[in-house]
């Protein structure tokens, strides 16, 4: 990842679901939560590699609805913070 690659390194924009504004999308990289909770999230569609779009939220931005795998799931900020994302790879056509 530290090699020269010509494009903006993805490391720079790596973040968590909390960073997404409404309409933003990203790819889920990993879930930093204990097994059972990660599993429940995965069953709801939050699988590594899945494309997640931020949707509407409660006033104040917490909790926020995320569109994932055909469903809309609301997560609190404290949960969304544990879901690490990487940007959608635009190199592939």
């Amino acid at each position: 990842m530290l090699q020269l690659s010509g494009n903006k390194d993805s490391q720079e924009v790596e973040g968590t679901l909390v960073d997404l504004r409404r309409g933003d999308a990203a790819i889920l990289d990993r879930i930093d939560l204990p097994g059972d909770e990660a599993r429940r999230l995965m069953e709801l569609g939050f699988l590594p590699g899945a494309r997640i779009t931020a949707g509407f939220s409660a006033p104040g931005g917490d909790p926020r609805v995320f569109q994932v795998d055909g469903s809309e799931i609301a997560l609190r900020r404290e949960t969304a913070r544990r879901l690490r994302t990487r940007p959608i790879n635009k190199r592939k056509r």
């Binding site: 995965m42 069953e43 795998d69």
Partner: protein, 632 residues
């Protein structure tokens, strides 16, 4: 589970196996289970299949509710349908999943192992929902895979090849719309036909969620599944209901609207019921010959039961509201909006509806906590719900306030009586919030629980589903009025009519009821209560509002026709300090047998209701004691 993995191969042979002829199972004996993820429309299908022939109970020993019903097949045979709780997977982690797993594998002694499974999936979200098909098909039980919401799939231009999917899964597949009744006959056909074990072409490793999801994707792809366009209407409505400014305003209007209807629109209906009881009571009074029996029927039974049945319109209206909010999908949005505020006292968005409902009645409110997945949050909500001001408290408040608070305008706008009433509402609310906070920072502390709430698409509620809910509620409510309240009224009447002297009922003070009141007096004296209030406290253990009728009876007057008389009697008999103490006592005390019973059922034992009763009683006693001594 591992046994299922190893039976990969057997799937290919089971097609050749001869299915068990249905006649051999015996008519009416067949049990089938309805399984599916939350929001798959499972309950709608259950209502379609069973209609009025259903009942709700708890699985013994756990807090999971069990809906069973009878589905009548064409040809007159009947099938018992068990509606299992909504689950995302069959890995037994939550209580719901454990129950579903145990029922499906025949591990529960109280429920026969189902001979067939109806697996309900949302056809508009098949990629994810098909994941549940893997562990279900692996059970080797004859299964019909039901793709629900066919109407949605069509209108949003999705597509699935049912025959190809059926070949992939090795099980029959039906594309239906439970809401509209489309294709439901296929379910009946499956149930009356020969049952064969499923023989899927392949199954994933069940413990591995990503592999299960990949399998579901593959199967869907081979069945030509085209996911539908995003739900445009839902997005549009959400941009309104979840708008940063409009959203909370709509939310507030919905809450206010519910209250407004409960306390104003319900009044004519309640007056109507009240009138019916009065007229029929008067008719009974003139029809029956003058005797102890007439007194029992007219003064004891009819009046007592009537004083409770009056609340039926209010309770039904509340449930109509909740039903509409829930079935339409707005409730999930309301929970989302309320979540942050509820989080401040340690609760969560899903606690909001139970606490709102508790203003109509704690019993349905406690039943409504079932939607709270987190056990500790659910327990905390159950424990604080009975603090909310229910109409039974309202009756007591109204009587005491009318007797002791002079009608006066405050700041030119508010009436002093309305302000007193509002203060009592706030008192109950504050007690609930403080208790929740205390519970959540001590015994029910739950640090790392995650809040995950699926937002279903908006849908029109169906009349059938709303009607079934209201019917179910009425049944529960009238049962209570016909049993607990009736019994208390008869007993009170009996105790205040013995010992008889020369065929005459004794003066109330010398009756057994009066003696019980006197016996209690030392204990309640510190709160400023006399023996008459004592009898009222005893009878109100069954239901708070009973004290109104009891005091009326004790003060020798009919509370309905001479309410002014009762108010005057109270004013003469009680100092203002006692009256305030009485109000505070009622604001805090858990005087409701139905609530205690439902808490016991929902928490699976006597521990929590006992603690709750003790806590609320201590709070009520201390509050009343303080109030009496401060004002005295």
């Amino acid at each position: 589970m591992s046994a299922c993995d190893s039976c990969h191969g057997c799937g290919t042979t089971s097609l050749a196996e001869l299915p068990v002829p249905p006649e051999a199972l015996g008519a009416g004996a067949r049990t089938v289970a309805l399984v599916g993820p939350p929001n798959s429309g499972k309950s709608t299908l259950f209502n379609r299949l069973t209609g009025l022939r259903q009942k709700v109970a708890n699985f013994p020993g756990v807090t999971v509710e069990q809906h069973t019903g009878i589905a009548e097949l064409p040809g007159g045979r009947a099938v018992r349908v068990i509606d299992l709780p909504g689950i995302y997977s069959l890995t037994p982690r939550t209580e719901d999943e454990q129950v579903a797993y145990d029922v499906l594998t025949g591990r529960r002694s109280d429920t026969p192992k189902p001979e067939a499974i109806l697996l309900v999936l949302d056809s508009t979200n098949l990629g994810r929902h098909l994941m549940l098909a893997a562990p279900i098909l692996a059970l080797g039980v004859p299964t019909l895979v039901i793709l629900n919401m066919a109407d949605d799939l069509r209108s949003r231009e999705g597509h699935v090849d049912v025959a190809a999917l059926s070949a992939q899964l090795g099980a029959p597949v039906a594309l239906i719309s439970a809401r509209q009744g489309e294709g439901v006959n296929q379910v009946f056909e499956f149930l009356s036909g020969a049952l064969a074990k499923p023989s899927p072409l392949e199954l994933p490793v069940l413990q591995d969620v990503p592999k299960c999801r990949a399998w579901a994707g593959r199967v869907g792809e081979r069945a030509g599944y085209q996911s539908p366009a995003p739900p445009e209407w839902t997005r549009r409505l959400d941009s309104f209901f979840l708008h940063p400014v409009i959203g909370p305003i709509v939310f507030a209007l919905v809450v206010l609207g519910v209250f407004e209807t409960l306390f104003t629109a319900a009044v004519p209906l309640m007056n109507g019921v009240d009138w019916l009881f009065k007229v029929s009571g008067a008719w009974l009074g003139t029809t029956l010959p003058a005797s102890g029996f007439r007194s029992l029927v007219v003064d004891g039974v009819w009046k007592g039961v009537g004083s409770v049945v009056v609340f039926l319109p209010q309770v039904l209206l509340l449930f109509l509201f909740i039903g509409i909010l829930e079935d339409s999908g707005y409730l999930a949005r309301a929970a989302l909006i309320a979540d942050r505020t509820m989080a401040k006292v340690g609760l969560q968005g899903r606690s909001f509806i139970p606490l709102l409902s508790a203003h109509a009645c704690a019993v349905p409110a406690i039943l409504a906590t079932r939607t709270i997945e987190n056990k500790r949050d659910r327990m905390a909500t159950i424990l604080v719900a009975p603090f909310m001001t229910c109409p039974a408290r309202l009756q007591v408040y109204t009587l005491i306030i009318a007797a002791f608070v002079p009608e006066r305008a405050l700041f030119g706008v508010f009436s002093s009586r309305a302000a007193a009433l509002l203060g009592l509402y706030l008192l109950g609310f504050t007690a609930a919030v403080a208790t929740a906070k205390a519970l959540k920072s001590s015994v029910l502390k739950s640090g790392k629980t995650q809040f995950m709430l699926e937002m279903p698409s908006y849908r029109w509620p169906t009349l059938q589903s709303l009607g079934l809910r209201l019917l179910d509620r009425s049944k529960v409510f009238l049962q209570r009025a016909g049993t607990v309240i009736l019994l208390v009224m008869v007993i009170l009447w009996g105790l205040s009519n013995v010992p008889r002297h020369g065929g005459q009922a004794p003066p109330i003070e010398q009756s057994v009821a009066g003696q019980i009141g006197h016996l209690m007096e030392p204990a309640i004296r510190p709160m400023g209560f006399n023996w008459k209030i004592g009898i009222g406290l005893v009878t109100s253990l069954a239901a708070r509002e009973t004290i109104v009728g009891t005091l009326g009876e004790i003060y020798g007057m009919d509370p309905e026709t001479q309410k002014d008389g009762l108010q005057q009697a109270l004013r003469r008999d009680m100092p203002i300090g006692s009256a305030v103490a009485l109000l505070i006592f009622f604001a805090f005390a858990m005087q409701c047998i139905s609530t205690i019973a439902v808490v016991r059922r929902e928490t699976g034992g006597w521990k929590w209701p006992a603690l709750q009763f003790a806590y609320m009683s201590v709070l009520a006693y201390a509050g009343a004691f303080l109030a009496f001594h401060l004002i005295h």
